[in-house]
């Protein structure tokens, strides 16, 4: 049987193919990735796009949690301060309801409670990064302003809007409660109760003072119930942070599984390819042009 007398094209094709494999292996090792372009593994490349989208989303949720956490913490601690102030007002009111106190004593108590009233107004007008936290979604103006014509002494300028921020692909978290729900709700109006306490102290009727103290107590209780919202929100955020941290790790592992280079295997392949390349080159070098002409004399 006659054979192909020219082996070089086959050998050179083999060299090119092996060199290509060497280049591919080296690229995988250098990048640490088995999918460097979509055609390397189209299915994996598509999954990596999804993975990148999910990872980016999880990272963003973590950033969003970081952003709203500060505001919620600030609101939570402010409500604690409001509760403390109300407790202080209750103590003063109880003292004023004591029949042994004279008018001058009650007037002094009124001054102190007016100070608390002023403090409460400041607390209700908490701002975080320039936004009024308890103004609903009307965050660009103070939630409450002094208003002598109002029975409670203040007017709520905010609205009843609430915001929800997505902190997980299936989770949105309400981030605020409007002041109207916290400080001037019909079930526990903080400002009205303080104003009533001041008015009753100024009137000097111990029974009325006692009623006003009870009203402040009710407002405080109501506020405490409402402020649970912020504690819960913080707990949810912490829990979601923990989940996102593990989700991010999981996604990173998936990314490696889908598109990461199997380094031991690739290095082994590279060694094989390099050996094969060297052997082919050696074969070409040793393919001496031996033919019958050289032996004819």
């Amino acid at each position: 049987m006659r054979i192909d007398p020219n082996p070089y094209p086959d050998l050179l094709a083999e060299v090119a193919q092996t060199q290509q494999q060497v280049n591919t292996d080296e690229q995988e090792i250098a990048s640490g990735l088995s999918v460097n372009e979509p055609s390397d593994n189209p299915g994996a490349a598509a999954l990596l796009v999804e993975n990148a989208g999910q990872t980016s989303e999880a990272d963003q949720f973590e950033r969003s949690i970081g952003s709203i956490q500060g505001e919620i913490q600030s609101a939570d601690s402010t409500l604690d301060s409001v509760t403390t102030a109300l407790q202080q007002a209750i103590s003063l009111g109880t003292e004023g309801a004591n029949g042994t106190e004279n008018a001058a004593d009650r007037a002094a108590i009124v001054v102190q409670i007016q100070g608390i009233q002023s403090q409460l107004l400041n607390l209700a007008n908490l701002t975080y990064q320039g936004n009024y936290v308890f103004a609903g979604t009307a965050t660009q103006a103070a939630a409450y302003v002094l208003d002598p014509s109002s029975p409670s002494g203040v007017t709520y300028q905010g609205n009843t809007g609430v915001n929800r921020v997505r902190v997980g692909s299936q989770i949105t978290l309400q981030t605020n409660l409007p002041g109207s729900q916290l400080f001037s709700a019909s079930g526990g109006n903080v400002f009205q109760s303080i104003q009533d306490l001041i008015t009753s102290l100024q009137g000097g009727n111990t029974a009325s003072i006692g009623t006003a103290v009870t009203e402040v107590g009710d407002a405080s209780s109501y506020l405490s119930e409402q402020s649970v919202f912020y504690g819960n929100a913080l707990d949810q955020l912490t829990s979601q942070q923990t989940y996102l941290a593990s989700d991010t790790t999981e996604l990173a592992q998936q990314e490696t599984t889908i598109g990461g280079a199997d380094l031991p295997n690739v290095i082994s392949n590279l060694t094989t390819s390099q050996t094969s390349l060297q052997a082919t080159l050696e074969a070409i070098a040793q393919t001496e042009s031996t033919n019958l002409f050289q032996y004819l004399k």
Partner: protein, 458 residues
Amino acid sequence: MSSLNASLATALTGLIAEQGAMQVTTNNVANVNTPGYSREDPVLVTSDPVAIGPLTFGTGVTLQSVESIRDPLLESQIQQQTQSQGQFSTLASALQQTQANFISSTSDIGTAISNFFDSINQLSSDPPNLSLRQGVLTAADDLATSFNTAANNLSQQQTSLDSSVVQTVTQINQLTQQIANLNQQVSNLQNVGESAGSFVDQRQQAIDQLSGLVDVSVISANNSLTLTTANGVPLVTGQQSFQLQTQITPAGLHDVYSQGNNVTSQITSGQLGGTLQARDQEIPAIQGQLDTLAAGVANAVNTVQAGGFDLNGDAGTNLFNPPPAGVTGAAASLSVAITDPSLIAASSDGSAGSNGNAEAMYDLNNQAIVAGQTPTDYYSGIVFDVGNDTANASAEQTASSSILQQLNDQLASVSGVSLDEEAANMVRYQDAYQASAQVITTINDMMYTVINMDTLTV
């Protein structure tokens, strides 16, 4: 009765025939590395004998012809495989370039989509914040830029492929003209019974080159060849070549014409087939997908934007300039319509601190707003399609190259020049030549003897 002169003439035919055979070997050796050369074989036949009386004497040897050793079946298979190789090589190369637009990076479309929606989610945590609003505009601009860049790259590639179509048609016309000329030379020689081996080799090589450029069907008849494309578009008939032309279309691309007919869609293989496939099918399909994605995102965002309120409490206006109707060109023309960050309609109730509409906008990221899929799902589908098409074309190219290599090996085992074989032939012809020469010398001696018989003394 035989004569010494007859013997001399017979011996002389041996000398002439071996010289001719030696010339064939010399030519084979000289062309050992000539691409497309088929080795030649001298066809030696016994000269017609003469009958003298009751006896019949041979009259020597005749070099009847010089035959090129070829295998038409293999040559035909090589042509077909060369067409596939040309097609898939061009297609794979084009798609490799195309898929560069979809390699994961910090600025690829998938990342830009994620960054855009992430910026909206960030804004929803502090809706009045102008820095965050500016962040949304910047991310929207980056998204538009990534679409513009990919669309422009695809357009440029299409233009470049179009130039290649024109160049390839020029090459095809040169080759068909060359083949027609060679047809004439082959026909002229074969009609007078002469060997046209080297012209046939040249013609075969030109056909192989043509097969790399376009699908070719070869019909051989009456010492001549007719070439058409697989779909019957005439290329060469005997000594006449049919030139292909290119004409620019309203879309600015060139179609291929033959004798006034648009034959673009009839060219399916070879480099031209691969180029047309990439230019007219693959790239437009990807452009269409990008347009759908860009228009889907832009329209959905604009719709949500219109349902909300900006920082001034006014109804939202378009965030992106509306994509063209029918979405064609949406990716190339995508742009952000506003420059004032306060115009982002994050609010759902008109108050500055509301983030309801920003959240609705962010939720688009996970809604089926692009042909029934989420933006990221749709984009990952594009990446899969591009990767899959590229991988398939590369695999086809590798397979056709491998088959072509095997076929070429087989053909070389039939038609290739073996120096060992030629050396052996050379020795054979030399020996035969020496023998014939020796016979002539002997006859010469015998003649001398006869001529000088009277002077010879016994």
